[in-house]
Structures are given as C-alpha cells and as structure tokens.
Amino acid sequence: MKTQIFLEGFELDLDGELSSEFTYSVDDVVDFASRNTSFSKTIVIPGSTRNNKLFGHIFDFGNANNHNPNVANVGANFNAAKSAQCVIMNDHIQIFKGVLRLLEIVIDAGSIEYECAVFGELGGFMASVGNKKIEQIDFGITNHVWNYNQIVGSWDNVSGGGVYYPLIDYGRVSVNNKNDWNFRAFRPALYVKQYVDKIITGSGYSYECDFFNTDFFKRLIIPCNTELSRSDNNAFNATANVATYTTNNYPAFTPTTAGNFTLVGSVWRYNGTQPLSGNLKLRLYGQITDVFPNPAPVTNVIVSVQHNGTNVAQQTFPVFSEPWTYFVNFDVPVTLNPNDTINAFVSSTANVYNVSDGQLSVESSAVVIVPVNYGETFSINSTIPKGVFQKDFFASIVKMFNLYVTEVPNKSKHLVITPYSDYYLNQYASFTDNLLQVEGTNLLVPDTGDFLLIDQDVAGAAILDWTNKLDRSKPIRLKPMSELNGRYFEYKYKSDGDFYNEQYSKKYGIGYGDFIEDTGFEFARDVQTADIIFAATPLVGYNGQEKVYSTIFKLSNTNVEDQTEHVIRIMQAKKIEGLTNGWHIKTDSGNAGAQLNRYGYAGHLDDPDNPLSDINFGAPKELFFEITTGYPAANLFNSQWSEYVAEITDKNSKLLIANIMLNPIDIFNLDFRRLIYIDGSLWRLNRVIDFNPNSNETTKCEFLKVINLTY
C-alpha cells in the first residue's frame, strides 16, 4: 500500500490504493474575489476494526460519546461535528495536509464504510471558526473607565493593540457648534489586528503575515457601533457623600452607575422609556448632632426613602441626647415609571446631621440595559459590534486587501497570509535579466545537462519549466478570460442608512467608498462583486472648524441629528496635532479636562489633512470636507487589486487547461507562488484538478497567462 491517511496522528486502514482525487488551489480567477482551499473528492474508508475504533464506534445508532475539545478528535473522543487533523502520504511523501470531515456512514449488509472528505488548512481554519461571532472573542482587556484621561491617552499609541477612542460624530454629541465634543463622541475602538489575531489563534491556528505588522494595518480600527451600555440588574447605584447637613432634608449621593437616572435638584429622575420594576434600596449611616426643638425630653427624627416625594420606607429615631446615631437599611419593591423620582429624606426635626456612609440604588428585577455615563466603568468586550461572524470578518479583511491564505507543508494548523502584490516569488528581475541577455540568440537559458530552464531542484526556484511535463496526448484548451469574467467588477462596502451614506448613494447610484471596474469585455454582461461586511464612513468637516471626522447619524425631518445603530465600520486611526483652535471634551455638566489642541482621528483616509492612503475601494465622487493637498491615489483598488485585475482582464489574458505529469513529489513541493514556463510562455498555476496519487495518469491543471511580471 502506497497511500497512508493519518487521523490525528493515527493511521487509518484503507481497502486499496486511494482512488480519490485531490484539487489544489489558493485562488480561482474564474470566481472573482473568492478564495479556495485544497480539497478531495469523497474518500471511502472501510469500517475495519481499527477505523471503527478511531471513529469512536460512531456507526452505532445510539452512539453518544462524550467529547473533550482539548483532546485529539479521535477514538472515544471523536466528534463528527468537529474537524480532525489529517495528513495523507503517498510513498511516505506528504501529498495533503488539512482536516478530515466525516460526511456519511454507510452500513450496507453489515459492512460499514465511512465517506469522508479532506480540506486544506484554510478549509480547516474556517471550519474551526465555525459560527463563532466576534463578540465571543475575549480580548483580555481589563475594564475601562470612560473618562478624559482614558480617551486622550489612547491617541498617543496607535500600534495595533489596546483601545483607541476616536472622535466620531454620532449625532447630538457636539457642543458649541461642532467645536467641543461630549465624551459620548469617543466610543472605544479595538484594532483590526487584535481581531485577526484572536480569530486565528482562538481557533487553534497560528499564522505568519508581514502585512499585518505594517504601520498601515496596525492603524486600522473597528469602532463600537452602539451606544455604550451595560446589561445587568444594577439600574442605578449611588454612594452617599460624606458630609454634614444643616436644615437640608436631602442627603447627596454620587452615582457609580447612573444608568437612566439624572439628578434634578435634590432628587434622581428616572429617564427610561419603559416602566422599571425592581427594588429601591437605601442604606444610610451617620449622627444627628442638633435637633429642633431641642430634646426635652425627646425629639423624633424620621429617615426615609421616597418615591415621587412620598415615603415608601421610613424609620423614626427618638433623639434623647445629642449626638444621636442613626442607621437605616431599606429594601422595598418599586415600579418606576418614566420621570418618577427617588431620593433619601431626613425630616426637618434634624437641624444638623452628618452622613458617614450610605448607598441609594435601584436593582431591577429583570436584566436592564443602561447607558454608561462619564466616569463609569465598562467592559471592553461589551463594546464589540454584535452579530458579526468571525468568518465573515476574516473574509472581509481578505477581500479588502486581496490576501492569499496558504499553508506550509511541514507545519500543522499554520496559515501564511500574503497580499496578492507580494504573493508571487519576487525573483522576476533576475529571470527577466536572463531572458534579456540572450534575447535574439537563444530564448531558453540552458541549465547544464538539462532541458529545463530552471533546475528541478525546486527548493529555490521561482519558475518551473513544465514543458516536458505537458501531456500532449490529451486535449489542451485555451480560454480567453473575456469568456470567463464578467463585464464589471464591483467592489462594495455594505450599505447603511446613516444620513451621509444615504445621501451619497441616492445622488450617485453607488455607495460611498465603492468602485466599479469596467473590463470592456463585449461578450460579457454580468457583474462580479466583491462585497464586505463593513460599511463605508463619510468624512465630514464644517466651516470654521479644523477637525474632520467620520460622521454617522441620521437627520430628522426637522434637520435634527439623531443617533442611530449602524453597520460595523473600519477606519484608519491617527492622532492629529497642531490645531490652532483649542477645544474641550465635555461631560454633561462641564469640561472633562484641560483644553486640547489635538484629537483622535479615525476615517477612511490615513490623515484628513495630508492623506496618503485610503481604505475606500475608489475615490469618492464628492467629499464632505475641504482637502487642500489632493486626494490620494492609493485606495484599496489601486493598491491591492489593480495588478490582479490587469492580469485577468488584459485582452491577451487566457486560461490554459492542460494535463501535466505530476507525481507526489511535485505535489509535496507545490507552490502556487512559482511561475510555470511552458513552450515559451509564462503562466501562473491556478488549480491542480483531481490529482490521483495512485493512477499514474497525468493531471488536469489550470494556468493563467502572465501578462506582466511587474506593474
């Protein structure tokens, strides 16, 4: 037997040489913007005693083995819903590495067969990510206090890690004609690199990617897309101020969780829109130092907790002498309607009293969502956009930056991520030089004693000569790419309903940040689309204001800004300094801190004043701010996609489909980064289709013609 399949390191029995076929691919030029992984056709594995054990006797109708995700997915721990690591060897040469998926168990006349398929590392990674959402990621960041220092301090360290508090106009967060900004304009944002790190490593994979370590990538952020809030039973919580009161019935409290309560005069008003049922609690401790009238022989002082000015719990303290200690601990059920008030109350018979300790709180009987207020603590994980699948997030990053996700043969669960522009081996120059040196006399560069242009010692070769591997007894097909591609390539951000996005798309019939490439193919009419989960975010500037900021709000019929939930956004972050006009971050009651001449910018441009890069696919047809230095050409299409599109849309672009004599060593060394030289033409290997390691037949391969080596 030449073929061996190892499941989590254990060899499976096979009932003959493997007749399954394997397809190898990283990209499919026919399926625009898709990413592919290697896979097999169905592999039938016999239900031998060894295989039955390795599959945990899953064939039994009542099988209900316990599964420990921290233990290898094999034997009594086998779980068909989880991927199992798989390596396939032919003549002890690895021809496939990835994960095995059990598709079906067939019991035919008592004979058991396991129908399986294997997928490459990218497929295994996507299976491991499964349906996990980004809100399930634990970023390991401790709770933050939402205050001036936290916000301003975050602008100094744009490094792909930590938390950044960008200025974003969410509507009704500006004060003083868009010069000063309420703290609510600075919602926390996490870096894209943190997301990608956690998504990959959280699925048990490792990766290498130089691109993720560039300054450009490390300044990408994902802002929180909802109002900051907490969800728990703690609707309101305030600590009593340590103070002495003279002829004052209302002891003061400082909120630790204000939630939907605001201080109106001396009482706390409930601002929620729905009735709130729960328990009203007051704990208060102190001394009564002077009563009126003086205690002769006794004066009663009443301490109470009030709902809408009425005592709902009270305790009477007969003061026989001064000072007299009091202590109350009330816990009463209450239902608060909008605009109801609560407060602690000390009767007027206490002329002078002090408070040493105390707490006023409302504990909701059901979990409530309450807004986070200035100075309050919140969990960073609660600020992650909700409902976004990790696989969609990762796929969108891959699409935006035209990343190729590949694997290495000798490292399990490891991804190599490279932008297309860096993917193909960068040895074109020497190759081109060689060609140029001999041009006109001898096109082929002789390699001593060999017919090959590049020696078959492929370890260091950038280009392989497969001229002699081409099976000329089989049909050779050439398809113009114009027959395979659509007329238009659309690059689209997700549409959203905020004012500027809506206005832009109504006006121009295309989304802000989108781009459409017309290939000019006359026989193709359809549109091929690369769309991502993020929505674009227009930048807005106002007359007389230096700051330019991303803007996400709705406008009411009366032109009043309304805050809105919005689709997840992606932006570039930068601290913008040197503002001539100072400004303030505001709390609800005043300045949060010192005047600022800098701000934490975030938007599709790297810098709104002197932009060099843009994460929009194309330049907007209209800007909502003034730009003096010219709009940058380095948008996503130009920097990440244009070379690729040029290669597949050139009039000479062709897909070659031919049979190649491939053996297991070729497959083991298969590297799509290497260019292939056949009969004087240079090609990019697109797919190896249905390689059968045991058939000794030639294998169908797809190649894309190289139009230019560099652009």
Binding site: F59, F61, N63, M661
Partner: protein, 392 residues
Amino acid sequence: MAITINSVPPNYSTANDDLFFVVSSTNTTQTNFKYVFAVSIGGSVVATIKQFPDPSNLKGIFNASAIVRDYLTTNFKPTTPGSLFEHTGTDGLVSYSIGFGEEYGGTEYPNLVTGTWNAYNTTAELFPANGAPLLASFVSNWMTERDLGDVQSAFGEPLHVSWMNASGSSINTTASIQVYNENGTAAGTPAISGSWPLNAFSFLDISPSAINQTIGAGTIPSTAFKYGIRLNYGSLSPEIMVRLVCSPKFTPVTLHFLNRLGGFDSFGFRLINKQSREFTRNTYQRNSWQYDSGSSSVKLFDSYRKMNPGVITNASQMSVTYKLRSDMISAANFNWLGQLIGSPEVYMFQNGYYFPVTIKTTNWEQKIKYLDKMNVLELDVEYSRKLNGQFR
C-alpha cells in the same frame, strides 16, 4: 438500585454475532429517560451508547457486538525456526465491561451496575440453538474441524493448529508424539515434550520439523510413515494423525488460515499450481523535440543518437494470482476447507515467509462421503500486493 440486568449473552458467545444485553430501570417514566451503556475495554471507555427504552416493554436492549468485535485479535504468531508451542495468550477473546446507567432530566447517572464478559472470534453459527455456543464444545480441545485422522505434512513445511483451554486459565501441558508404521502399528514409545503453561489459546506447529526442533532431532525420522500427536493437560486430547509426504512432482503451496473457531489451520495444495499476472501501464506524450544544450539547438534526437520518444510509458503495475489445486482429499477435509474460502486471514508460505493472500473463489458446495468419491479443491488466490514495474 434503579437498573437491573435481565439477561446477558451466554458463555463462549461470538463477537461476530449479536451480543444482546437486556436491562430494566425503575426510572423509565422520568423526563427524557435513556439507558446509558458505557463499554470499556482494557479499563478505558471506548464507546458510550444512549438509548430510549424499547416502547413495547420499557427495557434497554443493547447489542455490544459491533463495538466489541473491533477489539478482537488473532494469534498467528509463528516463530523461526518453528517450534511445537509457538504462542500462547488470550488473543481470540475480548474481555469487555459494560457500565449500565441512566440519563434523565438532563443528568447522566453512569455505571449504576457494571459487569465483565468475554466474547470470542468464532463465526456466527448457521443454526444457532438455544444451547451452548459452538465454541463451548472445543474447550480443552484442538480448535479445528479438519479430519484429525487425515493430515499431511512434509519436512520444511509448517503445520499449524490451535488449542483452547477454559478461558482465562493457564494449564501446564505436555505433548506426546507417537510414530507409526505404514501398517498402523506403533514404532517405539511416544516421545514426550517438556511442560508448557498454555493460556486460553495456544498456537502450535505440529510439523515434523517443529517437533524435532522442540523435542529433539530424530523424534520424527525422515523415514517415518506417519505420527500422532496428543496434548496431556491432565487428560489426553484426541490424537492428530499426520502422514508424511515427500518428493512432490509439483511445487506445493501451503496456505495457513483462520478457521471458523478462531484457530489456525494449514493445508498444502500439492498438484499443479499456476501463477498468472495481469499488467496495467500508463503513458503520456511529450514533445519529441528537445533543447540540446551542447549545440544550442532544438533536436529530435539526443547526443547518443537515440530518437526522443513522443509517447512515454511512465509506469506499469502487475497483480499476481494463483490457481491452486489440492490432491485427492476426503469429503470431511473438503467440507472443512470451506472455512478456508470464507477466511479473512490467509497466508501463503513461501521461502520461509508468510505472504498475505486473498481468496478470490467465492463458491463452495458440500461433498457427501458416499456420493462424492474424488474430491479436489481448486482455489483462485490473489497475492495481496500489487507489484510496480519500472517507472520512467
């Protein structure tokens, strides 16, 4: 206790047929009640099965055979040079435990009752009776159904047979070898081997070479006509009579196979045995012109004046099959050899090695002693490896 075991498989049951356990519980009215069967082998849980009660009787009916049989092993462990007692152990049976538990209300209550049983590597019985399983009648006996009075062997040719003790027991055993003359009279006194502790299953080589190797050269002289062998385990076993054959006209082929009792038997095919081969080849076509670096030109031939091939045979393979023919054999032996056709583990002995082969013959018809006088068994056997030709 909530769980009661109502019935279990009988002793010496085969793992290749059903192994039914029936249990009952007092908790079957609980929400989402299920019986839990945790099968352990060698101290480790290998499978956990959960079943709703049988709706007609609320019992838990569990068939353990499909799981247990995956742990059966065989004891074909010949030594070189062969010896009379080659291997002894518990191969051929699986000792398994089942923890019977319950699950209801979302909580599992495992292993409320446990027990341990043995299952054996015999085939399923054609007409299973209510009595003891087939293997029960082979305890302390040869594990073979061949004609014990009509066995042939030759020097240099292994002759395997298996022996079974009561499961789990180890008994000191000796072998008694008696040489016989052609007229059936004993030639001298029996030779007695040393004592061997034999476990549940033992694998023996009773060929003359192995006996001489174990007891002493000349125990079976080359001039002997036949010899008998018995085991003394406190009692004497039935005697196997082995007739020596020599100077074959054709090259004999001996097959060693797992019989239906879980033991191993040997049989020599001593008439014309023919080998046949089937070839497959693969080709592909490349350019007949090639670049010649010496002359910096493109040519149709190389520097040795060999024309470049267009079509190249890049691989060839062959599969090897044998058609084997036995000598005349008794109806009893012919019927016993039906087990060879159904055997999943067959070896062909060649040049001192055992090569796995696959029986391709699929039909067998019983012979009747008084009806079928001349019995010859013909078998198609495929060598289990495909052989590569020369790659290019």
